[in-house]
Symmetry: none
Subunit: 220 residues, 4 copies
Amino acid sequence: MTNGQRVFMARHNYDEEKIQKKKKLIMETAKKIFYEKGYENTSMNEIARELKMAKGTLYLYFSSKKDLFFSLVYEGLKILENIIKNDIKLAKNGLDKILNMGRAYIKFYREYPDYYSFVIKYESEKADLDTTEPLVINSYEKSEEIYDILKLLILKGIDDGSIREDVDITKMSMLLWLQTIGVVQQFELRKKLYENWDEKFPASEILDYYIDFMRKSLKK
Amino acid sequence: MTNGQRVFMARHNYDEEKIQKKKKLIMETAKKIFYEKGYENTSMNEIARELKMAKGTLYLYFSSKKDLFFSLVYEGLKILENIIKNDIKLAKNGLDKILNMGRAYIKFYREYPDYYSFVIKYESEKADLDTTEPLVINSYEKSEEIYDILKLLILKGIDDGSIREDVDITKMSMLLWLQTIGVVQQFELRKKLYENWDEKFPASEILDYYIDFMRKSLKK
Amino acid sequence: MTNGQRVFMARHNYDEEKIQKKKKLIMETAKKIFYEKGYENTSMNEIARELKMAKGTLYLYFSSKKDLFFSLVYEGLKILENIIKNDIKLAKNGLDKILNMGRAYIKFYREYPDYYSFVIKYESEKADLDTTEPLVINSYEKSEEIYDILKLLILKGIDDGSIREDVDITKMSMLLWLQTIGVVQQFELRKKLYENWDEKFPASEILDYYIDFMRKSLKK
Amino acid sequence: MTNGQRVFMARHNYDEEKIQKKKKLIMETAKKIFYEKGYENTSMNEIARELKMAKGTLYLYFSSKKDLFFSLVYEGLKILENIIKNDIKLAKNGLDKILNMGRAYIKFYREYPDYYSFVIKYESEKADLDTTEPLVINSYEKSEEIYDILKLLILKGIDDGSIREDVDITKMSMLLWLQTIGVVQQFELRKKLYENWDEKFPASEILDYYIDFMRKSLKK
DNA sequence: TATGAATGAGCTTTCATTCAT
DNA sequence: GATGAATGAAAGCTCATTCAT
């Protein structure tokens, strides 16, 4: 490797870093506004204004409003993935690992409500999306991965005696994930309603109760 | 009653009928387009064009695009309510009644996918809505009613020995409904994905498996 | 004259009367709404609704919204004319007759604020109007008549010694009318403003002060 | 100050100037069309078409149709203010200063008929306007100022012997302004009418005659 | 790299008037 | 004479994206 090349690479990396930094900066602000006002009610103008940047600049870093939003979705998916992978490790047997997956999803919802809302929004409209877009494909793959993990964990649970044997592994792996996401999503939608009915009722305990219910339902 | 009065009333009823018929006609077409393209992507122009009517005519029957959509939501809610109330009756003990509620919701989703999508859309955005609007209030009351029914059914199930005793009635009544709606919603979102993974896999069995899983989890 | 003709005429008159009665009824309601909400903000729909009539019925009696409004303007002009003609008679000499004309206009403004507002609205937009419309022409003639009356009254006043001699009769006759209408119109526009500045100030005295000022300016 | 800062400021000023230039350009065209067709009958579409601009561009410079129109009103008010303040100075005694105020208003009407029409339109509808809007408030203050000036000038006129002593200062100050605006407004409305009656009659002399009449009425 | 002015299709809603019944 | 359903042009305004500088 010549000196020239090294310098070039260094410079390249330096620029790349700068670009990534700026993208981060934009995403940080976009995250705030998208979360506060929703995707449709957020204009590129507003994001640019908040950043004290020109509108055109946003388009240097993101090819479209969609692209900017998808980047946030992707970041959210990565965070979720990390939480899940980490929390699975913390448990020993198959049942606890599965329950930890559920807990991880709830944790994601509670600690990153903004990213959570983006992921949900994205999933809700993914059906209309062009499946040739890279981000879409990528997310599809991630989904599939989750089912494979769940399948393995159920098998492991049956094997180590923590999960009862009469479950249809394919169906259960799909159901568990569907159900967890669904429960959290519906909870988010209705929690205010519940609190209005009975102010003292700790609505948020529902999610913990869900995990507990799963445990009882799955254990041998 | 004089003849004159009878004639007047008959005429009144006839006109009212005609209006209702036309409203139905508009709603039928709107239903189709809203379902195909979604609320935001459907313009009043397009609905009018499809009906071969003038745009202004729509506003004779519905005060706004929202009003037209809400009418469909409301119709959907009524259909759902009927299915649920009817299917509860078909079962004897508490557990079966609860499971039938779940089955009823799934039936609604399968048989009226258009109305189902409107109800879901509406529920997703209800939080942002003006709670003084009559439809909103009405729907809130319906939701609350469902939880009361579920509570009673759980009690009944414990009483008649079909449901195990260690459930927190308040939490469980909320969780069951949350979970059912959530599972169906997530299933709808992901079913195409699943079918892509394994074309022979009968994705729709997941929902029946969900009911079966509930049965095993709740029974004594 | 045959019996048949008499019957026919009677019948005709009877119908004509009924028509006029209905026109009056419509105008009464239209007057109320036009005054409350202004011409532009009043829809034919609203007038019909208030009357519990069909929209189309309005068009049986008035050819257009404009026509309905013009009828009210015309009625207002007739009322104004009567007040003026009557009040002129009440005074003896030329000066007092002229001042009574001014007082009559102010009286019209105070006692018929609704008709006053229609006349003003009409005068303000008459410039844009089609001069072939009968009502427009008719009103023009009325205006011209007023100037002729004023000219005669000034001459009379000079003759009977109540008005000073150094006035240009043509110009003064125009100015007096212009000025009276203008003062009242501007007073109506600004009275609320004045009252805000000084709550105790009796703004309405301005109009009487105007008459008094004219008297001093014109008298010999 | 560093070079960098200077360049930055220069650039900033340059941009600001360009924006102001474009606003002027838009206002110039809007002025023409608003004057020709009136506020209500002018559409943003038409203004844009005349400017060979996209409709959206107008909204870059003015937040609404109202805003665009108000900018013209404001400009008119400033012109009027300047003319009045300047013309008062040109006279020596109180009476002449007051007459010059009247002459100034007439000059404004004659030389800026477009701005004059906007100011009148604005004053006519100000009553319905939201008094929290800055332009509204500003104009209210201007009105009050005029009355204070008139009061002082009347006092001065009495003091320097140019105005007779038997005037009610408060009422006269209000009346004079009311009357002047009213006379001009009514003249504008009726001048065509007058000219139709007698083609040789120099209608425009009426306004000068009005000033002359005021002089005679007020002088000692 | 950064700018931000310009675009223009698109939206919902209103309402005077007509006309078949 | 009375109805009121139907019309359809017209309005103000928004906003993702482009592109000359």
